[in-house]
């Protein structure tokens, strides 16, 4: 024990030296990042991350009848970018859906539920649906629950009830899970919540947009460096742009729209 403490103290000393070194390399980092920001983001998503066995029948009907396609995004703070909401993925989704489905009027609204757990949100879903009359509800959830380490069983029951209520209200549902956040991996344990979301999506036959896996793929493929601390709002905007694009493809594929119905 004594010797271990000694060793750890020595290592803590090494740790203390690190910030100084980090500052040395600091000024170079933005210079390297600048050209990358100018280039258009390359954020391919492998096909298997965008396929789902489940079908969005109401969306398909709406597109077929050229009726309005109303989308409601219910999510927490990671569904927006503070002070530039128009660059966040919901806005991108709307723009791209309009582009892909020129004959269909597409509306989209966002219900931001900052700091609310799935249980808090689930109770309000029906109210939202009555107010907005959406065809499709996109429910982004899990982050708040993971941060507060809500009992995964309670979490699972909450999304289970929420989805059941939405399906009963006659709307299509897409689930979105947590962001991949390598920097907070040591502090937030996401896996029980990711698992729960996957299980419930399967049980209710609801397509799951696996934001976590997609973002991790981008990070590993080198499209985005999600680990680094030195990023302004630019990175957030580019990531959201890519998420919006992937989500558009995901929704259109899950509605099984034939190319003729698309642009």
């Amino acid at each position: 024990m004594r010797s271990a403490v000694l060793g750890l103290t020595l290592l803590a000393g090494c740790l203390a030296v690190l910030p100084a070194r980090a500052q040395d390399t600091g000024p170079q980092a933005p210079a390297q990042a600048a050209p990358a920001q100018a280039a258009p983001p390359n954020c391919e998503v492998p096909a298997y991350l965008l396929t789902s066995d489940s079908t969005l029948t109401h969306v398909a009907d709406a597109v077929k009848s050229k009726g309005p396609l109303n989308v409601l995004v219910v999510g927490s703070r990671s569904s927006t970018i503070l002070s530039s909401e128009t660059s966040a993925y919901p806005a991108k989704l709307q723009a791209m859906l309009k582009e892909k489905l020129p004959e269909v009027p597409v509306t989209l609204s966002v219900e931001l539920q900052s700091g609310k757990t799935a249980e808090d949100v689930a109770g309000n879903l029906v109210k939202f649906v009555e107010a907005k009359r959406p065809t499709l509800v996109i429910w982004q959830t899990g982050t708040v629950d993971a941060m507060r380490s809500i009992d995964p069983d309670d979490f699972r029951n909450a999304i289970d009830e929420g989805i059941a209520a939405l399906q009963k209200a006659g709307v299509d549902v897409v689930l979105i899970n947590l962001q991949y956040s390598p920097r907070t991996e040591t502090m937030i344990s996401g896996s029980p919540y990711l698992d729960s979301i996957r299980v419930v999506a399967q049980q209710h036959n609801v397509p799951l947009f696996d934001r976590f896996a997609i973002m991790r793929h981008w990070n590993e493929a080198g499209d985005f460096d999600l680990f680094s601390a030195a990023h302004g709002p630019e990175l957030a905007k580019r990531v959201h742009g890519c998420l919006g694009r992937a989500l558009t493809k995901f929704v259109i594929d899950a509605a099984h729209l034939s190319p003729a119905q698309q642009n």
Binding site: A4, L8, L11, C14, R77, R148, S149, P192, F227, P233
Partner: protein
């Protein structure tokens, strides 16, 4: 003279492992426990505990190449199971003998001293964690993760947080194993006392507690909300099972373990688990999984030590025991020496590993994590852990020995450090 149990681990029951384990326990008549004499060390235990420590370290780092070598990617159970089982085994072995030789009071006193050491180690790690997280909180500005950064809010009320941490109710991610170990060790005197009376009944009681936990959903609450990430009511099963194996079970299970039927069941189960985990890594394959099976099987909870995980550990253990004989010459080889040394000083090396994982995270964050740096940090961590184990070993055998000619150091050493 029975050596430290011919077989170190349990029966490879494919599914419903716990149920059958209790049946076995009920059927066999319970002889008084036999504590093997303090002969040579069971190096396989040290080897696999050392391996578990390395794997835990790698799993605590962000995903990198080495992560693909950790067993959790190829089956249901992971290094935690190995660590807790072997801890139960060695603790029962060391303190069980103490209980027979010196009585209940003395052995309890020694166990409590050990619990205190683990507690202090945990608090020490917590301070390091606080330092790291405070640093990240003040430096990290990324609008993409403004929500996730809310996790730092606990820093706004350090009075509550620190007291909850001292009560073991507030535990940051990756700091869950030691509190579990503390609780299990606290109950070790009771476990040993019961085992001295009837080992098989104790194991049956442990299985019963496990079943009751699942049935009534028992858990320990945590701060600010939630529950212990490793539920002690469920995980005690592995610890008690380890103790049971140490005290007599392993020897009596020799026949089951050497039967080819057992081996094939274990193999089949491992292959099944491997195939299932492959569908996690390659979602392209998930269409191969029958939906009914998925709905029955998932989620495989780690918190409550899912039966599938426990069975997976048993299968691994059975195969290991079968193909790695106690007297395998490789155990003495210099190549396995670092692993064995780490396993022999598990508490210190475990703490060091958690610390190094924090530090590694920190370095990656500061220098921008490339794959090469990731790899270098993992390897450096393992080298540091091995080096430290060697230094501790030197203290034990040279520095301390010359300081006091004889002492109670030797035995605690076998329980995984002094």
């Amino acid at each position: 003279m029975t050596s430290i149990a011919d077989r170190i681990e349990g029966p490879p029951l494919a599914d419903g492992g716990t149920k059958t384990a209790s049946d076995t326990a009920a059927v066999t008549a319970a002889p008084a426990i036999t504590i093997p004499a303090a002969g040579e060390r069971e190096l396989r235990l040290d080897l696999f505990r050392g391996l578990a420590l390395w794997l835990i370290f790698i799993d605590h780092l962000p995903t990198n190449i080495l992560t693909w070598f950790t067993i959790r990617n190829y089956g249901f159970s992971d290094a935690t199971e190995i660590f807790i089982f072997i801890s139960g085994y060695t603790a029962a072995f060391v303190y069980g003998r103490a209980m027979l030789e010196s009585g209940f009071m003395i052995s309890t006193a020694r166990i409590l001293r050990r619990v205190w050491q683990i507690y202090v180690a945990h608090v020490f790690l917590f301070t390091i964690f606080l330092a790291e997280i405070s640093y990240v909180a003040t430096r990290f500005e990324n609008p993409l993760y403004s929500e996730e950064m809310g996790i730092m809010d606990f820093l706004k009320q350090p009075d509550v947080t620190i007291i909850q941490a001292l009560l073991l109710r507030f535990r940051p991610v990756n700091m869950d194993v030691l509190p579990l170990y503390i609780v299990l060790m606290l109950f070790l005197p009771l476990i040993l006392w019961l085992m001295k009376w009837k080992a098989d009944v104790t194991l049956a009681l442990s299985v019963l507690l496990y079943v009751v936990t699942w049935h009534f959903d028992l858990y320990l609450s945590a701060y600010p909300n939630g529950f212990w990430a490793f539920n002690p009511f469920a995980w005690q099963l592995l610890f008690v099972f380890g103790a049971w194996c140490a005290l007599s079970g392993a020897r009596r299970m020799g026949r089951i373990l050497s039967s080819p039927v057992t081996m094939w069941i274990a193999f089949a189960y491992l292959v099944f688990a491997f195939c299932v985990t492959m569908t996690w890594h390659f979602p392209q394959l998930s269409f191969l999984m029958p939906r009914r099976l998925e709905q029955w099987m998932y989620p495989i909870t780690k918190t409550d030590l899912d039966v599938l995980r426990f069975a997976h550990f048993l299968a691994l253990a059975a195969i290991t025991v079968r193909f790695l004989p106690k007297d395998w010459s490789g155990l003495k080889s210099i190549w396995l020496r670092p692993l064995i040394l780490c396993g022999q000083h598990s508490l210190e090396i475990f703490c060091l590993g958690v610390f190094l994982a924090f530090a590694g995270h920190f370095v990656l964050a500061e220098l921008g994590g490339g794959a090469l740096l990731h790899f270098a940090i993992s390897v450096a961590g393992i080298v540091i852990m091995s080096g430290m184990a060697w230094v501790i070993s030197w203290y034990k055998h040279s520095a301390d020995k010359s300081a006091k000619k004889k002492g109670a150091v030797g035995n605690a050493d076998m329980a995984g450090g002094g």
